[in-house]
């Protein structure tokens, strides 16, 4: 075992976790501010300048609230549900290439935890396991609303995972690799364009499915307040509720990173190589570029949430099974034909 490598990866993982949690915390602030902006209000402005300390106040509130575990609940599963949801949300960050590698006096410091040759499939495996957190939490509450929310979450995840997988297949046909770093690098350099240009339909399908997988509006049926009280987290209180809500924001951050990496060139921007920067500065620039793209997509997630109303459940299923899946299969066929006949 190479100790330098182990140390590198440990440092990187700690940094990524800290950044994910920080961004998730400030996403809650951002969400309220953007909601306020879209509804012509002021939003949170009491805690600190511009309300910037609001996430910290929220965190303290969550931690110090009374911890309630319902008597009729399954206590072990009730606690482990939010833990699984949080854990899987953090696990997906392992395969994302966050930027070009640094060089500290001859020592390469790569900005990707694991460049798996099955990277994208790993992503799918972890995402599908994330659903268990919701299902277990919802079932263990022993509450009809929570159970309904959990069932909705599970069926929604299965339905949209299919279309998501098919849209990825078309992407793989073009990029010839499952490794995220190779997909990102394949979108830079001479004659290469961002995948969103080569796969516009696939991008649209992937984006819609990402909304559904994150349980974000207009697909937030598992927790729709107007009919299910709070959905799968009705019975949760204190930090266990905090974990559910927080993990949702981490999921949003990670899916923004993945959308940016898969379809928008990741840490590249057109002309990044022609600048001829020193390696460390190029690395910083590449990270900044990726985060600019990620922040845009987080904004986009919020923009959609405060613009569109929620779907009805049958509309959700119709969209998934009768529109997105056939469309993604046609997309795969067209992409395959294009590669066979024109390349």
């Amino acid at each position: 075992m190479d100790w330098a490598l182990l140390l590198d990866k440990t440092i990187l993982i700690v940094i990524i976790f800290a950044v994910s949690l920080g961004i998730a915390a400030y996403s809650t602030y951002g969400e309220r501010k953007i909601a306020a902006f879209l509804q012509d209000r002021v939003g949170p402005d009491r805690a600190g300048p511009f309300g910037l300390l609001q996430p910290i106040a929220d965190g303290v509130k969550m931690f110090t609230k009374e911890e309630i575990i319902p008597n009729a609940s399954d206590k072990f599963l009730f606690i482990i549900g939010p833990c699984i949801f949080m854990m899987t949300a953090l696990m997906t960050s392992a395969i994302i290439p966050w930027g070009k590698s640094f060089n500290f006096g001859g020592h390469e410091f790569g900005l990707q935890v694991a460049d798996l040759n099955v990277g994208l499939l790993y992503l799918f495996a972890v995402v599908s396991i994330g659903g268990y957190g919701i299902m277990i939490g919802g079932w263990a509450s022993n509450n009809k609303f929570a159970l309904l929310g959990a069932l909705r979450a599970a069926s929604q995840m299965i339905s949209y995972e299919l279309a998501m997988g098919m849209s990825i297949v078309a992407l793989l046909l073009i990029n010839n690799s499952l490794s995220l770093r190779e997909i990102v690098d394949g979108q830079a350099g001479d004659g290469n364009v961002w995948n969103v240009v080569r796969q516009p339909v696939g991008f649209l399908i992937f984006l819609i499915c990402a909304f559904a997988e994150c349980n974000r509006a207009p697909f937030d049926l598992p927790e729709s307040e107007s009919e299910l009280v709070g959905g799968y987290h009705t019975e949760f209180s204190s930090m266990k509720l905090g974990l559910f809500l927080f993990a949702e924001y981490i999921n949003m951050f990670i899916s923004s990173a993945i959308i940016a990496s898969l379809y928008f060139g990741g840490y590249h921007f057109p002309g990044i190589d022609s600048l001829d920067l020193p390696q460390n500065i190029a690395a910083i620039v590449s990270v900044a570029v990726l985060f600019a793209k990620i922040l845009f997509f987080i904004f986009f997630f919020m923009w959609v949430r405060w613009t569109l109303p929620r779907f009805r459940y049958d509309q959700l299923m119709n969209l998934g099974w009768k529109v997105l899946i056939p469309l993604s299969i046609i997309n795969v066929l067209v992409t395959g034909a294009w590669i066979t006949f024109f390349k």
Partner: protein
């Protein structure tokens, strides 16, 4: 190193598999089965078959077990609703399980444990290799199994439609 990993994984696999059978609550059985699938995926990784490991997780732990969990949640099984089993079925199941155990022990006695080494550094389980094998040497079984899946899908749609009338 890999021997200890294997032993740990193997013990975990057996424990979780036993827990599936011994759990009183069907919900816990399903969850233990998911743990079991994870440990089996770990074995695949030890054999350098990353692709198989991940596909195993996606298909079994990610999709099939979600459906299992779905059904168990909806049925809301508990002790009162459990159908009463007569003594005859208990005796029959005990005898058949015992017979199966005898067969297992006999076959284990008969097998010779030869030298076995883990195929280190082989790329056999990578996506490219699996794909090439599937579309050259195993093309016919691959296509036939896809037809099988198609017929299963059509069959289930047909069954679902019949109920509506």
């Amino acid at each position: 190193m890999s021997l200890y990993l294997f032993l740990t994984l193997a013990i975990l696999t057996i424990i979780s598999a036993l827990a599936v059978v011994f759990s009183k609550n069907p919900m816990y059985s399903v969850l233990w089965l998911i743990v079991c699938f994870f440990t089996v995926a770990g074995h695949y990784v030890l054999l350098n078959a990353q692709f198989l490991a991940i596909v195993h997780l996606i298909v079994y732990a990610g999709a099939i077990m979600v459906l299992f969990l779905f059904v168990v949640m909806l049925l809301n099984l508990n002790a009162e609703t459990e159908p009463h089993k007569s003594n005859l079925t208990k005796i029959a199941s005990a005898i058949s399980a015992g017979l199966f155990f005898v067969v297992l022990i006999a076959s284990m006695r008969a097998t010779e444990l030869g030298e076995f080494s883990l195929p280190n550094k082989s790329n056999i389980g990578f996506v490219e290799q699996v794909g090439k094998k599937l579309f050259t040497d195993f093309l016919l079984p691959f296509e036939i199994s896809s037809v099988l899946f198609l017929s299963a899908m059509i069959g289930s749609v047909l069954l679902a439609k019949k109920e509506k009338k």
